[in-house]
């Protein structure tokens, strides 16, 4: 073979197979977005356990010719499916098992004592789901003004659920109702959870006076017995699943994990669920979320609308919690700080920490963390109920 022919062959291979040649602007933008996520995780330490693997998944999914997001299909040859495609297909789209597994770990990590000690917090957890429904209506209203960009009712449910500020519930609901927008709703949910420190304080300040923010609540909540902590997950699971059966997979696993923790007889299972198990599932799910955002899906102009509506849902949920907190402040016999309503969104425990921080700024002697943890964990239950309610309307399984 002449050197010239060899040279032509090499160029041909480079032209077909080399990533640089096939990298277009939109993929490059998505890779930069992924790098942005990784930067936020490392530099700002915003939800690094979530944003770092999402960013990595996003980059891997948008590198040309890698084939990592090729999902398994009948008739494929060996090795044709990519690993991220396999995670997505079996973990999320077809079997949808990863969100429930995350809930198992969350249950094992969650102490429901602040909620059991102060059951009024359940109502704040309910009020902070209001953004789900306002954004649901907002998503449907898009079709009135821009018919081509309109969302179906199922898509509107998936967009609204971002307002629950609960990543696994968003993924679980969207993968069944509107899998095409899964990547963007999941990314929005996790991104807004990461940005809770930026989103919530201005809304809380807008809706409360300084005097309200300075209200000092009882210094301690009552102690909760071990028996109560064991009975609570069983009781709550039975009530919720019997009333909203489609929330069963999420709620069931949440309370199963919590029973591991509180029973005190399966310490190994509890520790595994709290550590190795949830860590492994987090890696898989977050890589999957990032991988569900290939550029081809994101260039849809409706993506920006989903991001905006998701933000509105999160903001409205915060506002709903604070306004309900103000109502409880008015009718409560004991001092009640309305800010703890904002913690009703289920971004655990960041929301509660933010409320505590704002309380400390207004009154150095105010300790709101334990009071805010009640609505915070109630929010996890509330958003799972809201997701289960949406699924009950459209899904039969």
């Amino acid at each position: 073979m002449k050197l010239y022919e060899l040279h032509q062959g090499v160029l041909k291979i480079l032209g077909i197979q080399m990533g640089f040649v096939n990298l277009d602007l939109i993929h490059l933008i998505m890779i930069l977005v992924g790098l942005g996520f990784i930067t936020l995780a490392i530099v700002k330490k915003w939800e690094p356990l979530v944003l770092l693997p999402i960013g990595a998944g996003l980059i891997l999914a948008n590198l040309p010719l890698v084939g990592l997001i090729t999902q398994p299909a009948a008739g494929q040859g060996p090795g044709e499916a990519g690993i991220l495609g396999i995670i997505l297909k079996y973990g999320v789209y077809t079997w949808n098992i990863l969100p429930e597994f995350i809930f198992l770990g969350i249950g094992a990590l969650t102490d429901f004592s602040p909620l059991i000690a102060n059951p009024k917090a359940f109502l704040l957890g309910a009020a902070a789901q209001i953004g789900i429904y306002t954004s649901f209506l907002g998503a449907l209203a898009v079709g009135i003004f821009i018919p081509d960009w309109g969302f179906s009712i199922k898509e509107a449910c998936s967009i609204g659920i971002i307002g629950g500020a609960d990543g696994p519930t968003t993924i679980y609901t969207t993968s069944m109702l509107a899998p095409d927008i899964l990547g963007i709703t999941a990314t929005a949910a996790y991104s807004y959870m990461a940005m809770v420190a930026l989103i919530q304080p201005p809304i809380i300040r807008l809706l409360t006076s300084k005097a309200e923010r300075a209200i000092q609540m009882k210094p301690v909540l009552r102690p909760v017995s071990r028996a109560e902590r064991i009975i609570f997950p069983i009781l709550a699971m039975l009530i919720i699943v019997l009333l909203v059966p489609k929330s069963g997979p999420l709620v069931g696993f949440l309370f199963l994990g919590n029973l591991f923790r509180e029973s005190g007889v399966v310490e190994r299972l509890s520790k595994t669920a709290q550590n190795e198990f949830i860590n492994i599932i987090t890696i898989l799910l977050m890589l999957g979320v990032g991988a569900s955002l290939p550029a081809e899906r994101v260039i849809d102009p409706r993506t920006l609308l989903v991001l905006f509506l998701g933000f509105a849902a999160f903001a409205m949920s915060t506002a709903g919690g604070v306004l309900f907190g103000k109502l409880m402040c008015k009718i409560s016999k004991e001092p009640f700080n309305p800010m703890i309503g904002a913690a009703g969104v289920s971004a655990v425990p960041m929301s509660a920490r933010i409320v505590h921080g704002l309380g400390q700024k207004a009154n150095k002697r105010s300790f709101l963390l334990m009071h805010a943890m009640g609505p915070n964990v109630a929010g996890v239950i509330g958003s799972a109920v809201a997701g289960g309610y949406f699924l009950g309307l459209f899904v039969n399984f």
């Binding site: 009712i153 009781l235 009530i239 509330g382 109920v385 809201a386 949406f390």
Partner: protein
């Protein structure tokens, strides 16, 4: 795309809000009473223990 049935949409919204508030209120009430029962049991246990301790002192 199919036109939106706003009647259905509003019924989803009201149904959802009612479902969430109903379940959370029910849980709040049940947990409240569960707390009362266990607090009373704890109180009685303490009284019994105090009485037993007082009895031992009398002996």
């Amino acid at each position: 795309m199919k036109p939106i049935d706003w009647g259905e949409a509003w019924s989803i919204v009201f149904g959802g809000i009612i479902a969430v508030f109903f379940i959370m209120s029910l849980l709040a009430v049940l947990v409240h009473f569960m707390g009362k029962i266990f607090q009373n049991m704890e109180k009685r246990k303490k009284i019994r223990e105090a009485a037993a301790a007082a009895g031992e002192v009398t002996k």
